[in-house]
């Protein structure tokens, strides 16, 4: 199903960037790393489309662009519909001899707002129709572009400007929507989760998403120093902790068959390696209010839900 694409860090370093430097992302931006890594996975000519969001804004301030590949943005909620149109146009123009290239791949990028919330209809429709494209969700767990408002991807207890840590309500009362599982439920050929700390795993999965026939969905955790309130040097550390605490386990579902990826499989095999969520939470200012006597029980609740979701995942992977 997938080619045996082997690569070293040197290959990746030498492969020209399609998402180039000079963009205006903040220092320590997780999503910018995700973009760069995903584009290291392309196998040939590729057209990219982005939903409105941080990454669209910072990469294309007219008359500058960070994109060395054809790129289009049209609106917030429709990036999967754009991808549908691009993929279909390539198909028919190739047939009519008006596009010479044998193959052009299509990648769509959406943030958590453009994916969990306002864009889920277009995404669900495009996947149901079976368009051949890779959808990459860079999940920084809130509407960061407009100044840190909660989304369906914001985790329980996190403080955002629309789920503030008040004296009565300790951050977001609701739980993170299991978006990747929702995508698996579409019976699509390839769904995976990734973290930029595990860069090789991320690039491999992006490549598989590109190679698979039909729609692929890659859910990448993408820490945001501004919104998560941590030092700009810590993005990779936090990307790692998310996996080590099983807050964001890494897995693939190929034709609906779940399997854990190496960094999470290690934890499944040696549960003593599973770190408490407290370590992940305390590294981020958005959870600071939970480390007070009044709201400390929320941390227990986050641990409970993390364990419950992890156990459910292990069952799906046949490792419970």
């Amino acid at each position: 199903m997938f080619s045996e694409w082997k690569f070293t860090i040197r290959d990746i370093a030498e492969k020209p960037d399609l998402f180039m430097s000079g963009h205006r992302a903040c220092a320590g931006c997780g999503p910018a790393v995700v973009m760069r890594l995903v584009l290291k996975a392309v196998r040939g000519p590729t057209i990219v489309t982005s939903a409105t969001g941080c990454m669209e804004v910072v990469s294309t301030i007219y008359p500058y662009t960070a994109w060395a590949t054809p790129w289009i943005h049209t609106a917030f909620e429709n990036v999967a519909a754009n991808a549908s149109g691009i993929e279909t146009a390539i198909k028919v123009l190739k047939r009519k001899g008006r596009i010479k290239q044998e193959r052009i791949d299509v990648i769509a990028f959406g943030g958590d707002g453009g994916t969990y919330d306002i864009g889920i209809q277009a995404l669900s429709g495009a996947v149901e129709r079976g368009h051949d494209f890779l959808y990459v969700l860079y999940d920084n767990e809130a509407y960061m572009n407009t100044g840190i408002q909660r989304s369906g991807g914001t985790p329980h207890g996190a403080a955002t400007t629309t789920s503030p840590a008040g004296t009565v309500i300790p951050g977001k009362p609701q739980y993170k929507k299991p978006i990747a599982n929702i995508m698996v439920a579409h019976n699509m050929p390839y769904v995976a989760t990734a973290s930029p700390y595990y860069w090789k795993d991320l690039i491999t999965k992006a490549r598989r998403g590109i190679e698979v026939n039909g729609p692929a969905f890659l859910h990448v955790i993408a820490p945001c120093p501004r919104g998560w309130r941590y030092d700009t040097s810590k993005s990779m550390e936090i990307s790692r902790l998310a996996v080590e605490t099983c807050v964001f386990p890494l897995w693939e579902a190929v034709n609906g068959e779940y399997q854990l990826s190496a960094p999470s499989k290690v934890i499944a095999l040696r549960p003593e390696r599973k770190k408490p969520v407290r370590e992940y939470l305390k590294a981020q200012g958005r959870f600071r209010h939970l480390f007070t006597p009044k709201f400390e029980k929320v941390i227990d609740e986050i641990q409970r839900i993390t364990d419950e979701r992890w156990q459910r995942l292990l069952k799906k992977c046949g490792m419970a």
Binding site: Y62, T65, I72, N82, A89, I104
Partner: protein, 410 residues
């Protein structure tokens, strides 16, 4: 000079005439979502695709918002694209209408005009497309199914013209046209294919000084739809207005070129007048109502009344000079609006015709009749009443009520 081509006559309703024209226009991607009274367009086109009668892809999307988004992106890749909608569907597209014109994507769309909710109503009025008059699309309103067919074919040429590069909306009255069978003369497939040609791309200069086609081309990577801040946005909007200003002459040329092949003309392509040359009183309207007005004009002429009709075919861009010229000798004009501008003292067509006439040397009296909302029928006797009102204005020199409703229960 080309001569008129021999044509088949088919019994088609307006929707079918649109679908047939799209099929013949070498379209690449059609993306649409069904909504009454546009549905037949997508049904027929789906059949053409299913039966291999057209070399195109049909994307049956999950909403009108996605329908236009898919067309826009496919158009950016280089495809000739078409969509169709009505009413709430057009309203749902609203955001992307602006994005499409702003990206200069030559998408063609048919709108089977229908009232907007609430209360929900599936029948004809122009509320849906009138509210979109500022979105940067060219708007053509057709009188019958024949004109719907002819206009769709012309629309691809207009939209893709290098000096225009704007999307085009062809508006046909829901049910009155969309669902009513007519004899429609259709050109041979090859004639239409030649007429529309293959899509050409304007060249733009890159930062490296290379001239490359304006499209998503993997050999010449281009960023389309960037963030445009106060230092450039305004100039880009002005370019759209310049394209609109280029459009009237080109619309007329394309209309004339088509007329030489088909033998059919709709005025000069912008305005279509009927017995207006020596008219003292005239009605201005859009769409299928013009047919009813013509029969009343004939009756009045037989009675010695100098009545006439001016039908605005191209509402965007608004042919201001043509309107002034057409109404030069007219003394009283009734503008018929099939939509409301709530609180705006009259409908949109009325506002714009009055605005156009401000620059005229002499002003006729201009009054407004809002009619036919939610599909209410407008009879010849009601049109006659309007002409009677105009005659009274001529006799007394006074306008009693500048804005009135037609056929409304009081």
């Amino acid at each position: 000079m080309e001569s008129v081509v021999k044509q088949k006559v088919l019994a088609l309703n307006g929707d079918e005439a649109v679908a047939y024209a799209v099929k013949q226009s070498d379209v690449d991607v059609v993306s649409a979502y069904p909504i009454t009274p546009q549905t037949i367009i997508v049904e027929r086109f789906s059949e053409y695709v299913a039966n291999g009668e057209v070399d195109a892809e049909f994307i049956c999307v999950e909403s009108e918002h996605s329908a236009l988004s898919a067309c826009l992106a496919a158009s950016a890749v280089g495809a000739r694209t078409f969509t169709a909608t009505a009413s709430a569907g057009l309203a749902l597209m609203h955001e992307i209408l602006y994005v499409t014109s702003g990206c200069r994507a030559p998408v063609v769309m048919a709108v089977a005009n229908r009232a907007l909710s609430a209360p929900i109503n599936i029948h004809c009025d122009h509320s849906d497309s009138m509210v979109e008059r500022d979105c940067g699309w060219i708007q053509i309103y057709v009188e019958n199914s024949q004109e719907a067919y002819d206009s769709i074919i012309q629309a691809f040429r207009i939209a893709e013209n290098q000096k225009i590069m704007l999307p085009v909306m062809v508006c046909l009255d829901g049910f009155t046209l969309s669902h009513t069978l007519e004899n429609v003369h259709v050109l041979p497939d090859g004639t239409v294919k030649n007429f529309v040609g293959t899509r050409q791309f304007p060249l733009v200069t890159t930062h490296e000084g290379k001239n490359v086609p304006l499209r998503l081309d993997v050999e010449n990577p281009m960023t389309i739809g960037p963030l445009d801040l106060p230092d450039y946005y305004f100039e880009h909007k002005r370019q759209q207005e310049e394209a609109m200003r280029n459009a009237p002459e080109i619309i007329k040329q394309i209309h004339e070129e088509y007329a030489r092949i088909s033998g059919r003309r709709y005025g000069d392509g912008l305005l279509d007048s009927y017995r207006l040359e020596d008219a003292e009183i005239a009605v201005i309207c859009l769409g299928s109502t013009a047919g009813t007005v013509k029969t009343v004009v004939d009756d009045l002429r037989n009675e010695g009344v100098k009545a006439g009709l001016l039908r605005i075919r191209t509402f965007r861009p608004l042919p201001i000079e043509g309107i002034i010229k057409a109404l030069e000798k007219v003394k009283a004009v009734a503008v018929m609006d099939r939509s409301m501008s709530f609180g705006g003292h009259g409908g949109a067509v009325f506002h714009e015709v009055r605005h156009a006439l401000y620059d005229a040397a002499t002003h006729p009296h201009v009054v407004n009749y809002v009619y036919g909302l939610g599909g209410r029928d407008t009879s010849p006797s009601q049109i006659r009443e309007i002409f009677n009102d105009l005659q009274k204005i001529l006799e007394t020199g006074r306008v009693k009520a500048p804005v009135q409703f037609v056929g409304l229960r009081e």
